[in-house]
Symmetry: C2
Subunit: 303 residues, 2 copies
């Protein structure tokens, strides 16, 4: 019989090279910082380049190729005139990972601060409340049981009901609609999915509980890789008005610089792959970059 | 045996005439709009004037005088050097309303949109999650059982532990600390305490569930009475950047103009009582008023 650690996995998703970068930091946070004993899986779509796939293979035990849509799904979606559900469906592929008994999904923009292997003691579907509407769970972190049956059922549900927010969160909340009222054990404590801007709305609670935060989630349009990082001082400078917590951004960058950057495939730092083209840049370029396709904000002070 | 409606009550608190105005609208929302069958109680401190007491007596079944501090509490607080806890303690007085078997506390800046008498089927302590940190409950709406024993125990706890946010919410969350993990029935659905700015953080959920919202809570420094109201058009104009939902503000003002304003004691519309001194004013004055002690923003277009 296989060890429990082989039958349980953390799963994430990258739809392009930029989010793959998030996955690399997330994977390293699970391995290096949180010392997980479980497997790491990354689901990728064709939008992820071959050099980035090689990079992901250094950190993840399994790379699972998914299409934005199955051909079967595409046909159905076309019939229903709902091509917008394709992105929603991508995350649902995680239920097809039936080589695992149980799994924990983590968005590519999450970061694990402390070991969270105890999450595998929870049942499907366990998730933390969404700060915006706490009777909904946030689908950036959830415990699930891979099952083809559940996958098919979710797909059917999606095609008949759609998603009230156009994304996976609305869909999963409608499918697992008794989450808010049925079983307190399926409510993960908020420390497993703290929005990095939480302290803006209720600072005293953040102050009171911050030492117990285990997973942080950089929700919103600005991601950790958008904030300028100074290679001389090794400090990140949070972009104003994003509300991101500097301590969390610093941890993200520390992991990136310690474990991801040193082993980066050289092709990813060339113009052919835009992701890291801006790796060495001036502050001006770093700011400009927010409006371009270049995505990493590292600048050196000796320019 | 007394009817259940006599042994159960909605309870609110006014520490000055301005918040008493909120209580008047809240009380009318419970009676006129939500058609409650339960008793209405307002706790008031000496900061509420006699004319306003008379006004409250028209709506509430019971006016319960409380001091910001008992003399006994004052002595203890002085010993502990924590005079800041006095405001926190004021809300705790609700546990002394032992003429009732069960009660629902509502902050003066809440508004009841639909009948919520079913809340009396819940047990102490039931409350809805706080959007800022959803493992804490928001103490603007909660179900409790009046009990001198609980009151004493809360008081002792407050004096030994203090409150992590300096207010009643931090204190009650520490005292009822198993709320987040013990019993899903003590989690009131969010529709019983929706922050009026909720749609800013997760608009799709607000859109999906807005028809079921039962209680709205105008948290933050700007209250419904701060927004300018035009007596000619009978419309409120939400102050920019407060994020308050116009529909909710309009309901608040409709209740104020229909049930509170017509019966206002004349002394409350004179300069001797500042609360309603600005009742008829120009838009300029209405805006200026935000920086003054005058509190109601009604203006007429024919000035």
């Amino acid at each position: 019989m296989a060890e429990r650690g082989d039958r349980e996995a953390f799963v994430t998703l990258a739809t392009n090279d930029t989010y793959a970068l998030g996955c690399l930091v997330l994977g390293n946070s699970l391995r290096q910082r949180a010392q997980t004993t479980r497997k790491l899986v990354v689901m990728i779509t064709p939008g992820v380049t071959q050099p980035m796939r090689n990079q992901l293979a250094r950190v993840f035990d399994m790379i699972y190729d998914v299409n934005l849509l199955d051909s079967r799904d595409a046909a159905n979606l076309q019939l229903l005139g709902r091509p917008d559900l394709s992105v929603t469906f991508t995350k649902l592929h995680c239920w097809r990972l039936t080589m695992f008994d149980k799994a924990v999904f983590l968005d590519a923009d999450t970061l694990v601060l402390q070991n969270v292997d105890e999450l595998f003691d929870r049942e499907e579907l366990s998730a933390a409340p969404d700060a915006g509407w706490p009777d909904c769970f946030n689908s950036g972190v959830f415990v699930f049981r891979p099952s083809e049956e559940t996958y098919d059922s979710l797909l059917k549900f999606a095609m008949s009901q759609g998603s009230f927010d156009g994304g996976d969160q609305g869909l999963l909340n409608m499918y697992f609609r008794d989450w808010a009222t049925k079983d307190i054990a399926r409510h993960l404590p908020f420390i497993y999915n703290v929005v990095s801007q939480a302290f803006y709305s209720y600072l005293p609670a953040f102050t009171q509980f911050k030492d117990s935060v285990k997973i942080v989630h950089f929700i919103g349009a600005t991601k950790p890789w958008h904030h300028p990082y100074n290679t001389a001082t090794k400090e990140v400078t949070p972009l104003p008005e994003t509300g991101h917590n500097k301590d969390y951004l610093q941890i993200w960058w520390d992991i990136f610089m310690s474990f991801v950057q040193p082993t980066l495939d050289p092709s990813l730092v060339s113009t052919s792959a835009p992701v890291l083209a801006s790796y060495h840049m001036t502050l001006f370029a770093a700011n400009h970059m927010l409006f371009s396709r270049m995505l990493i904000c590292v600048y050196e002070t000796d320019f």
